[in-house]
C-alpha cells in the first residue's frame, strides 16, 4: 500500500486489464482531492464501481462516497466484517481485510499500531466499515474497547437497522417494535444510543447522519479520517437503509433517506476542542489553496 503499488512495470502495462489501466491513468491515486473527490464523481475512474449489492441499495451508494472521500487512497486500508457492506468494500481498489465476525475494530487496533511503527513518518489511514450488527451487536466489545483505548482509526457504521444479509433478524440498532421477517412479534427494546456510546468511550469526532448530501457526507468522512490520524478514535453513524428487508421501493430509497434526515438520523456532529482546532487549520488551509 503505497503509490508505487499503483504504478505498473512499464513493459507489463499493455498486459493489464482495461480496468487497471484506467485506474492507473484516470484513478484518484496520488491526485489532489479537488481534482477527484465526490464533486467529480463520474469524471474519473472510481475505486469501487461494479458491486453485487441489491438494486437501490443505499449502502452501496454510501460506500461509493466513502471511497471517493479518501484523502490518500494509496495509503489506506479498510477492514470490514460479515454483512452486505463488505461485498462492495472488498472489491474496491483499496486493500481490504476481512475481520471475522465483528472483530474489525480489534484488528484495526493492531494494524494501526503496526503501521505507526513501520511507517513513523507517514500517515496510513485505517478505516473500519461494518454494519450495525457487526459494529454494535457481534463486534460491540471490540468496538467499545478500541474506543476506550483511544485507538487512532476511523469507524464507520453502516446502519440499516436489520441483519439484511441473513434474512432480516432484528439488530440492536433496529427500532423498538420493528417487525421484520425474523422478528415477527416486533422488537422488544429500543435502538442502542451508538453516538452517545462513542462520545462516552472517548471518540474525538462523532457524526450521525443520513447521507443525502454527498458533500456533507464526504466532509464528515474526511474530518473523521484527519482527526483519527493524530487525535484519537472517530466514529460515523450513517443511515444506509435496507430496501429489501424494509420493503422500500427502489424509487423511494432516496425519499426514505430524506425522511430519516428529518427524524432519528438528523445530522448531529460532536467534536472535541482539539478536533475543532485541527479542522479549522486543515479547512482554512484548503480554502487558501483554492483561492
Amino acid at each position: 500500500m503505497s503509490l508505487r503499488y499503483m504504478i505498473p512495470v512499464s513493459k507489463f502495462k499493455k498486459y493489464l486489464p482495461k480496468d487497471y489501466v484506467e485506474l492507473v491513468d484516470y484513478g484518484p491515486f496520488g491526485k489532489d482531492y479537488s481534482d477527484v473527490g465526490v464533486k467529480n464523481m463520474g469524471t474519473y475512474k472510481e475505486l469501487v464501481e461494479e458491486h453485487p449489492m441489491c438494486s437501490g441499495c443505499w449502502m452501496a451508494y454510501y460506500i461509493k462516497i466513502i471511497f471517493a472521500s479518501l484523502p490518500n487512497p494509496e495509503d489506506t486500508v479498510t477492514i470490514g466484517t460479515a454483512g452486505c457492506g463488505r461485498l462492495a468494500i472488498s472489491q474496491a481498489a483499496v486493500p481490504f481485510i476481512y475481520g471475522n465476525y465483528g472483530d474489525q475494530n480489534a484488528m484495526a487496533s493492531g494494524i494501526t499500531r503496526a503501521f505507526r511503527l513501520r511507517f513513523p513518518d507517514r500517515h496510513k489511514d485505517v478505516i473500519t466499515i461494518a454494519g450495525d450488527g457487526g459494529m454494535m451487536d457481534i463486534g460491540f466489545s471490540m468496538t467499545m474497547h478500541a474506543w476506550f483505548r483511544r485507538e487512532r482509526f476511523t469507524t464507520i457504521m453502516l446502519d440499516n437497522e436489520v441483519y439484511g444479509n441473513t434474512g432480516g433478524q432484528e439488530s440492536g440498532m433496529s427500532m423498538e417494535g420493528a417487525i421484520l421477517k425474523m422478528s415477527p412479534t416486533g422488537k422488544k427494546f429500543g435502538k442502542m444510543p451508538a453516538m452517545q456510546l462513542a462520545i462516552t468511550a472517548g471518540c474525538v469526532y462523532v457524526v450521525k447522519m443520513s447521507p443525502t448530501n454527498i458533500n456533507k457526507a464526504s466532509k464528515a468522512i474526511r474530518r473523521a479520517i484527519f482527526a483519527a490520524r493524530t487525535l484519537g478514535p472517530t466514529f460515523i453513524h450513517a443511515y444506509t437503509s435496507c430496501n429489501i428487508e424494509y420493503s422500500i421501493p427502489t424509487n423511494d430509497v432516496f425519499r426514505d433517506a430524506k425522511e430519516m434526515e428529518k427524524g432519528r438520523f438528523a445530522f448531529e456532529e460532536y467534536m472535541t476542542p482539539e478536533a475543532k482546532e485541527l479542522f479549522a487549520q486543515i479547512e482554512s488551509k484548503n480554502k487558501r489553496e483554492v483561492s
Binding site: R4, I7, V9, K11, Y15, P17, D35, T43, E50, S90
Partner: protein, 237 residues
C-alpha cells in the same frame, strides 16, 4: 518416478499435497510431481509441458506487475523474454486478489478466488504462476488441480509450492532467464521452429483511439456521457 501430484481434475475438495506427504524442496532443488528433483530436471519437464500442451499461459502476479520495488523491472523483463520464446504463449495477469463480482473477464485476467474460470474458458493446458503471493498461489494451485486439467508450474521467489506439478524455488530474474535458455534448448530438441515474438496484449484494452471519439460514436448512449470538469461540449449530433 512415481507421481504424487498429477494433472487434474482430481475432484472437488482435493486432498492437499502436504497431507499426501509432499514436502517443499530444499534450497537448490525443485519439486516435480511432488518429488524432489534437480532444478534442471524440473525446468526441462516444465518446458516440455509449455511447448507441447495447448494454450501455454503465464500468470504474472502483483509482485511482478507493479513497480513496487527496485528489482521488479528486471524480473518482469526476464518474464517477457521467456514469454516471447514460448510458441503462442499468452499473458493473463493477476493484478490483485480482490473478489470480482458479478463476474470477471476471463480472457483479460485471472482471479485467485476462482482461477478455474480463466483456465477453463481459455482452454489452458499449461501455465506458469510467477509473482503471486504464496498464500494466494497455494489457494489457486489447489483449485486448479481440483477442477482443471492444467499443468501448473510455480516459479516462486521463496520456498515453492507443493500443489504445482513443477515447483521451482528462489526464482529471481537470472533464474527466469536460465529457464528460458533451457526452454529454447528443449524446443530445439523437439524440433519446434519458433521465432521469438511477444504475446498479444490484453484483449480488454480498447483497440480504438479514444482521443478521436465524439459523442456521436456513443449512439443511443450519448446522453449518458458526462463532461469533464470545466469542459463544455457544444458539438453534439
Amino acid at each position: 518416478m512415481s507421481k504424487k501430484i498429477t494433472v487434474g481434475p482430481v475432484g472437488y475438495m482435493p486432498q492437499s499435497a502436504p497431507s499426501m506427504g509432499v514436502e517443499l524442496s530444499p534450497k537448490g532443488q525443485a519439486l516435480l510431481y511432488g518429488n524432489i528433483v534437480t532444478e534442471e530436471e524440473a525446468m526441462r519437464d516444465a518446458a516440455k509441458a509449455l511447448l507441447t500442451m495447448a494454450n501455454p499461459t503465464i500468470f504474472p502476479g502483483p509482485q511482478v506487475l507493479w513497480d513496487w520495488k527496485d528489482d521488479v523491472a528486471e524480473k518482469s523483463a526476464a518474464i517477457l523474454d521467456l514469454a516471447a520464446e514460448i510458441p503462442n504463449c499468452r499473458i493473463i495477469p493477476m493484478p490483485d486478489y480482490r473478489p470480482k463480482y458479478p463476474k470477471i473477464d476471463a480472457e483479460a485476467e485471472i482471479n485467485p478466488n476462482h482461477p478455474n474460470l480463466t483456465i477453463l474458458h481459455n482452454k489452458i493446458k499449461a501455465a506458469i504462476f510467477i509473482g503471486v503471493h504464496c498464500h494466494y498461489a497455494n489457494l489457486s494451485l489447489r483449485m486448479i488441480r481440483a477442477g482443471t486439467d492444467c499443468y501448473t508450474i510455480a516459479m516462486c521467489a521463496f520456498m515453492g509450492h507443493e500443489e504445482a506439478m513443477a515447483s521451482i524455488r528462489d526464482v529471481h530474474a537470472e533464474d527466469v532467464l536460465r529457464f528460458k535458455d533451457i526452454l529454447v534448448q528443449v524446443r530445439n530438441e523437439l524440433g519446434i521452429e519458433w521465432t521469438a515474438k511477444m504475446p498479444p496484449e490484453n484483449p480488454s484494452l480498447p483497440k480504438e483511439d479514444w482521443g478521436t471519439l465524439t459523442p456521436a460514436d456513443y449512439g443511443e448512449y450519448r446522453s449518458l456521457l458526462m463532461s469533464k470538469k470545466g469542459e463544455h461540449i457544444a458539438d453534439v449530433e
